[in-house]
Every structure is written in C-alpha cells, then in structure tokens.
C-alpha cells in the first residue's frame, strides 16, 4: 500500500539495524543506553512491529508518559461519570477512554448501567450530535496532548459561531513538555536520550524542546510512528551520542514543520489557558501541565456548567504505573503486572489503552530479546 509499505520495508530495516550495531560498537557504552520514547504511539509501534527484539542489547527502550488516556487520574474519570450520570447529558468520548477505570468503574460500565455515553471519532461529531439533540446537553470528554487540543478548540469556536448552547467540553487536555522536565528532574532516574513526540510537534513545532538538549544535555529526536521512523530515529540518537552532540533533530520532517501549525496554535492560544497544575496518574501533580478554557469560553466548560465532585482519588497502592512511566521499572517488573492487572481488568492506567506500555507489553511483548552474540 502506497505511503504505508515504504515505511515498513524489511530490507531498509535490516540496513538500519546494521548501522545501529556499528554505532553501538563505536560508542561502546559501559551500561545499556536508556532511550525514552515519549509517545504511546511509539510504544505501540515498537511492540506491534517487534522493534525491541531487532536492537542490540546495549539499547534499552524506556516507555514514556505520552499516552494521554493512561495518565488520566481516577478522580477525573469519577468527575466525568458524575456528568454522564445526569439524565439530560449525552456524553461523547474517544473509544480509548471508555475502559479507563475510575474509583467507581469505567465509562463502559456506566454505559451498561444506562448512562447515555457514545463513542465519537472527532469533537465535530459531538457537535453534530448537539445540533441533532437540542433538548439534551452534549458533553465531549476532551483529552489528549497538543495533538487533539486544536480540534477541541476549533469545535468550541465553531459552537460559539453557531450559537450552540447545549455543547460543552470536559477538558482534560494536557501538555507534554512540563512532564518531560519533571521526569528529567526525578532523582535517581537516568534517561540518556529521547525519541520526541511526532504528532504533538506537528502542532507545536520543535522549539519547545531546545532546553532538553541545551540545558539537560540529552539528544532529542522527534520521531514518526512507522517502524522505519522509529528505527531511523534511534539511529539518529546514536549518531548524536557517537559524535558527542546534544541537539533537537526532526526525523519526522514529512509531518512536523519547524514552526508547527500556526493556525492550530492560534486556536489553542485563543481558547485555553494553563492550569496551575494538573494531576497525572502515576506521576502525581505536575505544574502547568494541563489546560482549561479561558473565562470567555466558560460557557463551553463542562466543569463550570455542571458541578463535579472534583475529589482527588489516590491510585491503588499496589500500582506501580508511575515507576513504569518514569522508566524506573519495566512493565513486567510491576508487582501486579499480568496478575491483578490485565487488559481485561486493568488496575493501572498503563494496562488500559493499547498505547499503554503495560498493555502493549502484555499484548505484543514477551518475545525474548535477542541474546548478544558475545554473551
């Protein structure tokens, strides 16, 4: 298939793996190099195409926090359920969010119990439902990084233009950069380099990441999501290390413009403002890591339109999602991985979405890593 198969070419992959091995030989790292792929999309690709098993043992891939579904805290799901329970509300959401457990169940369970919860593929679909159901309150469960932030913002602007009053958004949009910084500041945590977010950067451009290379001295390569993208980005990271460079490089140039998507950024700036802090599942509260609607758009803010309990719920104490998210432990090293916590009955958020590191590991992983020939 055109524009797909080219990025999954086995021969090109083999060439890259040879190059990667050559660079590793040159670098000769004393301990495995820890490379964090920031996005859940990367994690999914790595497992789906078996990329980890193609890499030399001197490279350790650490699965980062970039799955917006996974990092949603229980309290926010509870708030969402409180909105969905209102008889006048039709709650709409992306499919991934349906199974995320709150403290009293998931949206899927609430739907089975009678709440009117519908899956949509775009916030515009939710707005269309609002037009179609003028006697109901349409609430869109908005979540995601800068990738989905603009589409929610544009939908709100569209609703404003049309004067649609029965539409609002339960806004859980978050921003990745403060979280990367929090990870870099975590004591005792060692990440050598990053594969940076592809679709977030398509909106933000590459300038938000310069501090990672300049201040924290870590190579940062913005990476696409096809398997060759991931391999090539790993190669670019290694090349920086081998040459003693720390730079922000853009492997995903076919999608990510240097300056980002200017109209999208304008819509984001118009509609949202930063929250003082936002709670991340497993990582705790991170300053300025979430957004909410500006005062001018308060009418579209479901949190202001309906009262929500807004109670902070602690993650189950056995969960080690935070340590997995920070790369401190591997998914299978979590004490409940595959036992109390499975994709069927996820306890921790990383087991919920197919982009969560644990779910990906559970579903696709476990294929033994290639044993080094010299071992």
């Amino acid at each position: 298939m055109k524009y797909i198969d080219e990025f999954r070419d086995r021969a090109k992959a083999e060439t890259l793996v040879v190059e990667i091995n050559r660079l590793i030989e040159k670098i000769a790292p004393p301990a495995p190099l820890a490379i964090m792929e920031v996005c859940g999309g990367h994690t999914h690709s790595i497992f789906r195409y078996g990329i980890e098993g193609m890499l030399p043992p001197e490279i350790e891939l650490v699965h980062g926090p970039g799955c917006p579904v996974c990092v949603l805290p229980m309290g926010r799901i509870d708030d969402c359920l409180a909105i969905a329970d209102r008889s006048e509300v039709i709650l709409t959401t992306f499919g991934d969010a349906m199974r995320v457990p709150g403290s009293r169940g998931s949206l899927l369970q609430a739907k089975a119990a009678g709440a009117d919860i519908r899956m949509v593929y775009s916030p515009m679909d939710a707005l269309a439902l609002a037009r179609k159901n003028p006697d109901r309150e349409l609430v869109f469960f908005g979540l995601g990084f800068e990738t989905t932030m603009p589409s929610t913002a544009l939908t709100v602007l569209q609703a404003e233009r049309e004067g649609i009053r029965n539409f609002s958004v339960f806004c859980n949009h978050i921003t990745i950069v403060p979280t990367i910084k929090a990870i870099l500041d975590s004591p005792g945590l060692h990440i050598d380099a990053f594969l940076g977010p592809g679709h977030v950067s398509m909106v933000t451009g590459i300038s938000p990441y310069h501090f990672i290379a300049d201040y924290y001295r870590r190579p940062f390569v913005i990476a696409g999501f096809e398997p060759l993208d991931v391999l090539q980005s790993i190669w670019m990271v290694l090349k920086q290390i081998a040459e003693g460079r720390c730079q922000v490089e853009n492997q995903y140039g076919r999608v990510v413009p240097e300056k980002g998507n200017i109209p999208a950024l304008a819509a984001v700036a118009r509609v949202y403002e930063l929250r003082e802090f936002f709670e991340w599942r497993g990582l705790g509260s991170i300053d300025q890591s979430g957004v909410r609607f500006r005062e001018e758009y308060a009418a579209f803010d479901a949190e202001r339109k309906f009262t929500v309990p807004n109670v902070k719920v602690a993650d189950p104490s056995v969960c080690q999602c935070g340590e997995v998210l920070k790369g401190a432990i591997k998914p299978w090293q979590c004490r409940v991985f595959g036992t109390a916590c499975t994709p069927e009955n996820p306890l921790g958020a990383l087991m919920v979405s197919s982009e969560g590191a644990c779910a990906a590991y559970f579903q696709y992983g476990g294929v033994p890593k290639r044993v080094p020939e010299h071992a």
Binding site: M1, I4, D5, R8, D9, R10, A13, E14, F47, R48, Y49, G50, I51, E52, G53, M54, R99, Y121, D125, P227, L228, T342, P343, E344, S354, F362, Q363, Y364, G365, G366, V367
Partner: protein
Amino acid sequence: MTPRNFAKLSVPAITLAHGGGGKAMKDLVDDVFARAFDNPLLAPMEDQARIGLSELANMGDRLAFTTDSYVVDPIFFPGGDIGKLAVCGTINDLAVGGAVPLYLSCAVIIEEGMTVATLHRIAQSMAATAREAGVAIVTGDTKVVTKGACDKIFITTTGIGVIPAGVNLGVANARPGDRVLVNGRMGDHGAAVLVARGDLALETNLESDCAALHTLIADLLRSAPGTRFIRDATRGGLSTVLNEIAHASQVAIEIDELATPLGDEVKGVCEILGLDPLYLANEGKIVAVVPPGEVQAALTALRAHPLGMDAADIGFVREGEAGRVTMRTRFGGMRIVDMLVGEQLPRIC
C-alpha cells in the same frame, strides 16, 4: 404452499399483533417465511420438523448440531444481509467440523414497526442462500417485541448435519510441523460492516466475504484427508482462532505477516482507524491446520474453488511455549498475537 396464501399480509409494517399467536401471526408466518422457505419438511406446519433417521445414518456416523444468533448492525451491508449471514454462519459452523449441513431452524425476534417489505427481503435472502447451499430451513419461530426491545431484527438459526465416518477434526489435533492455511483475504466482513454503519464517513468498495463454505471444506478434506482442524475465523478474527488452536493443542504457532492475505481497502481502513486486521471478523474464511505432507494438495484444492482463490500458507505449528502465537512482522521483527481483549467492534454478526 397454496396460492391462496399469497399476500394475506396486507399491512405495511409489523405490529405486536403479528407476534400474538393469532391470525395476524399466522398470516405473517405463512406469507413471509413459509412461502420463502417452502420445502416438504416445513410444509405440514407441525410444531417440529420430522427427519428420518435412516437417511441421516446413511450419510455418516455422527450428528453435528450447532446454534448461533445474529444481531449484525446494519442489517443490510455490501456483500450480504442478516438473513444471508444467519444461514451461512450456521452452515459454516457445521461444515468446519467436517459435517455435511442438512437442516436449519430459523427463529426471529422482530422489533415492531419493521416494514413487511424489509422482512420479505430478509426471508428471501435466507431462502435463496439456503437453496443455493442445498440445505432446508425446516422449522422456525417468530416473536415481535415492542419498539426498542430489540434493534430491527435478531435471528437465531440452529443447524444439523452429518459427519461422515472417519472425519475427526479437532482443535487439539495440531502438531509441530503442521502448516496453517487460510482460504483468502482476512477482515473483509468486519471492515465492510464497520464502513456500512456510515458513522465514519469512509467510502470504500469493501464487501463482506459472507459465504457458505461447506463445498470448499469438502474439497479440502477430499484432497487433504489428514487435515487436523478447521475453524471459521468469525468474531475475534484470525488471531482468536490461532490462539484457540495453540491453547487446545498445547503448541506454539508462528505466522508470517507477509504471507497473510489482506486486501488494500482493509489495510487502509485499519490504518485510518487504528484497528488490527488480525482481529477483524470474517464470514467466509477458514483457518485450516494441515500436516506438512498435504500442504500442496490442500492449497491446490482450495485455490481451485471460487471461495479459495487467494488461499495461502501463512505459518506453522511449532514446539515451544504452549498457547503462544507469534507473528514475524513484515518489518522483520517478532510480535505476540494475543486474544482480543474487550470488543474491537460490537454487533459484527
């Protein structure tokens, strides 16, 4: 049926009266179902079909007996409809056990308000599919429920068939070295139904692969009598069947992504929606486990049949961790192919 039965059903839509057991129901049954399914075993309109045992006994030494309910949404989709699906699906459940499918029952639950024309269309489709497959729909039941108590129409078909002596297919029969075959492109049904729902605003030429597979399976078993196991890859798709085999047979299975036939449109739909084609439902595809010595004969037989032209050898059974299914990706890596968790797509059949 006598001609005087024609067009007794003069109202345009089904109401609760048509399920009430009185005249309206008799009219509905006579006019729609009995007329379409017309066959000697149904004709006496007793409460049960009466099937001669000796005729069955001549065909084999075991009765195969299966049932399935069909709730697909939408009820009409490119390549089929709920009626065709209800006949093919149950025929296939018999056929994959090596049985010759013979008789079906048909129980329908209709939501009031369905037009009589729609019901006619579904019954005609069932009748035509059964006739073409050489099976008879010999008994049935009709219920009508209030608006909202079901969605348009749900159909349950039960089937019986006869397994010839000596045919012993079983999910626990796979052995290391056996090959895994499929009879064509995977995922067409799931993708076609998903697109037909229309809420994705995707335009494709995708058609469901919905088909009765008993003649294909008969050809396969004739050419490769050592075949260990056959199953149709319906809900849960290819990956589910492979996992069932690996668990039951206590073996590992490895398939090759490059060898697994997939249509471009299915690939495209999966790319856009983030679905994995290995989990998409099929309604006209089998997975067959065949001993190594019979692979060529099996492939030749499958490819000679109109429903098996794209048949392929997609992988093999091996020693290793029991229950483990892996796939060599087109990229050269190796990944696990696990059972589907949750629902990739509700109401697909």
